[in-house]
């Protein structure tokens, strides 16, 4: 029996290669500063949303507080570089460590909750962190915002243009996708999918569900923190409004839009919902309404997201070919 799972894995790596190539070539053809700027945000969103798909799509654990993890990464980078003169890379690492610790402390008790209760707990956590960003003025400058955040560089090479930052961000995003694909198709990935819907069955098969839930929660928080730090060094200005509840919802919506139970769904959702509002700008005051209608239509007619629709279409074609 040939190992079809290995074949599936190789196909995923091929997709990643094509994806990376497309991303690499994009700025060669599109030199518009504005579009590159949108794509930088797409890359940042891809990192958060792919991590979120691991948590919610694979392990089935909801979080309505992911904006807080994004914010923790962003503010740690901002505060440590501006107020304490840290090297941006040191601050980056500190953000990851801090976010991981906070996620662990929050995750251990709240992941004992299920469904709506877990959603409420993470929502509450997100609000608390948001209040800290606003109120801890000596560090964050509160609502007036933290300014003059330095850019990031490697050696002497500064990522100070949209063009350079585009590649910088997308290397992180590609690595995030790569790591996620590896997790999904592993012993741990199967354990996560197992505990998603049949927690008792998973436990009875030897899966320490509590441990894996916390692990994937911390991991997805780290993804968010990385994205937050990348965001900080790109826009070089931080104010607390960027990390409120609506952003947590946006992360969730992007994941659902692309396809929750699929790493590529995360990437597709993040990119398309970052670009879509830009296109809708042309419709001025109606843009929000059109955006809303598109979301509703996707939820109604594509419950498994855009990629879910694509997958089922491919399956149907295959079935037809087999029948013929």
């Amino acid at each position: 029996m040939e190992n079809f799972l290995e074949k599936r894995r190789k196909r995923q790596y091929q997709y990643l290669l094509f994806f990376a190539l497309a991303i690499f070539l994009f700025p060669v053809f599109v030199r518009s500063k504005y579009l590159l700027n949108v794509m930088v945000f797409s890359g940042i969103h891809t990192i958060v949303v792919v991590g979120f798909c691991l948590l919610m799509g694979y392990a089935g654990q909801v979080s309505l507080g992911h904006a807080a993890f994004f914010g923790l990464g962003a503010y740690t980078s901002g505060v440590l570089t501006v107020k304490f003169g840290f090297n941006p890379w040191m601050a980056f690492g500190a953000g990851i460590i801090l976010t991981a610790c906070v996620a662990y402390i929050i995750g251990v008790p709240s992941l004992k909750l299920k469904g709506h209760y877990l959603a409420m707990a993470t929502l509450g956590f997100g609000i608390i962190i948001q209040i800290i960003f606003v109120q801890w003025r000596s560090l964050t400058e509160g609502p007036s915002g933290l300014v003059d955040i330095p850019g990031i560089s490697i050696g002497g090479f500064k990522f100070n243009t949209d063009f350079k930052y585009y590649y910088f961000v997308w290397i992180f995003a590609a690595v995030a996708v790569f790591f996620s694909l590896n997790i999904v198709q592993s012993r741990v990935g199967r354990a996560l999918r197992a505990l998603n819907k049949k927690e008792i069955g998973a436990e009875a098969m030897g899966v320490d569900t509590a441990k894996y839930k916390v692990q994937v929660f911390v991991l997805s928080a780290i993804y968010a923190s990385v994205a937050g730090s990348l965001y900080t060094h790109y826009i070089t200005f931080l104010s607390p409004e960027g990390f409120t509840f609506p952003f947590s919802v946006l992360i969730l919506v992007m994941a659902v839009f692309g396809g929750l139970a699929n790493i590529w769904g995360g990437a597709v959702g993040a990119i398309s919902l970052t670009i879509l509002p830009e296109f809708l700008r042309a419709y001025k005051n109606y843009d929000i309404i059109i955006y809303g209608v598109i979301l509703i239509a996707v939820m109604m007619f594509m419950p498994n997201g855009i990629l879910g629709l694509v997958e089922s279409a491919i399956d149907r074609i295959k079935a037809k070919r087999r029948a013929a």
């Binding site: 029996m1 190992n3 079809f4 799972l5 290995e6 790591f179 590896n182 997790i183 198709q185 592993s186 012993r187 741990v188 990935g189 199967r190 354990a191 999918r193 197992a194 998603n196 819907k197 049949k198 008792i200 069955g201 998973a202 436990e203 009875a204 098969m205 030897g206 899966v207 320490d208 569900t209 692990q215 991991l219 139970a261």
Partner: protein, 256 residues
């Protein structure tokens, strides 16, 4: 000491005593059946042994280890596996991946091995796939390995659960109503399968309503009613036991 020893175990749900002062043993290599009317506490006994429910009082030993405070996954690590009456199949995965989850306690690669695809994780993946495939062969399901488990008929899903319980090479396999919902042919297949597993040295504890099946395959039968043991012995003793007949046919029998 026997492989499993249940000592004076009780469990209540609110005011209901689901299991009451129950004591029994399960010797190595045996096939033992637990029977009783609906709501007699049979599945509760399974859930207590496998750690899904916590014991109110009493003790359960497995190979001399007290299971009382262990979590279900820890009990699985000790070598005790089970299937479920209402199936706990992972319907978001293929057939073989379901069985692969069963190998969790016998494998070791953790999240960091997986992320970086370290050598250990790679080799282990190959091993897990091969083992799971063998387990599917033992239940004659290998041809469906690549299908989504959700698309299989109920009887086949049950076989996948059996393969999943078998794959980690446990010492005890607990089967919760293995033949319910199966047709005569499927029951025969499962009967053969259980005998084969048993011949390989596995101890089997099962709960079942199908009397003919139980009396045919079990060496020992335990009868429970209202959470209490009312009889224990080999099938021939059980079928002629007065209390058992009462429990199954009702009190009127005595009046008549």
């Amino acid at each position: 000491m026997d492989l499993i020893e249940v000592r004076n175990v009780s469990k209540s749900f609110g005011g209901l005593r689901a299991v009451s002062d129950l004591t029994f043993n399960l010797g190595r290599g045996k096939i033992k059946g637990i029977i009783g009317p609906n709501g007699a506490g049979k599945t509760t006994i399974f859930n207590l042994i496998s750690g899904i429910l916590t014991i109110d009082s009493g003790e359960i030993f497995f190979k001399g280890t007290v299971l009382n405070r262990l979590k279900p996954y820890q009990i699985a690590y000790l070598g005790l596996s089970r299937t479920f009456q209402n199936l706990q199949i992972f319907d978001n995965m293929t057939v073989i991946e379901n069985v692969m989850v069963g190998l969790h306690p016998r494998t070791h690669s953790e999240i960091l091995h997986a992320i970086f695809r370290l050598g250990r994780s790679r080799n282990e993946e190959r091993y897990i796939f091969e083992k799971a495939y063998e387990a599917l062969q033992s239940v004659n399901m290998e041809s469906r390995a690549a299908e989504m488990v959700s698309g299989l008929p109920f009887g086949d899903q049950k076989l996948v659960e059996v393969a999943r319980a078998l794959v980690a090479d446990p010492e005890v396999i607990m089967l919760d109503e293995p033949v319910s919902g199966l047709n005569t042919q499927e029951i025969e297949r499962l009967d053969d399968l259980i005998r084969k597993i048993n011949a390989q040295g596995k101890t089997i504890l099962l709960v079942e309503h199908n009397m003919r099946f139980v009396m045919n395959i079990c060496e020992e039968v335990l009868v429970v009613n209202y959470g209490k043991m009312i009889a224990e012995g080999d099938p021939s003793q059980i079928v002629s036991n007065r209390d058992v007949i009462n429990a199954y046919l009702g009190e009127e029998l005595r009046i008549a």
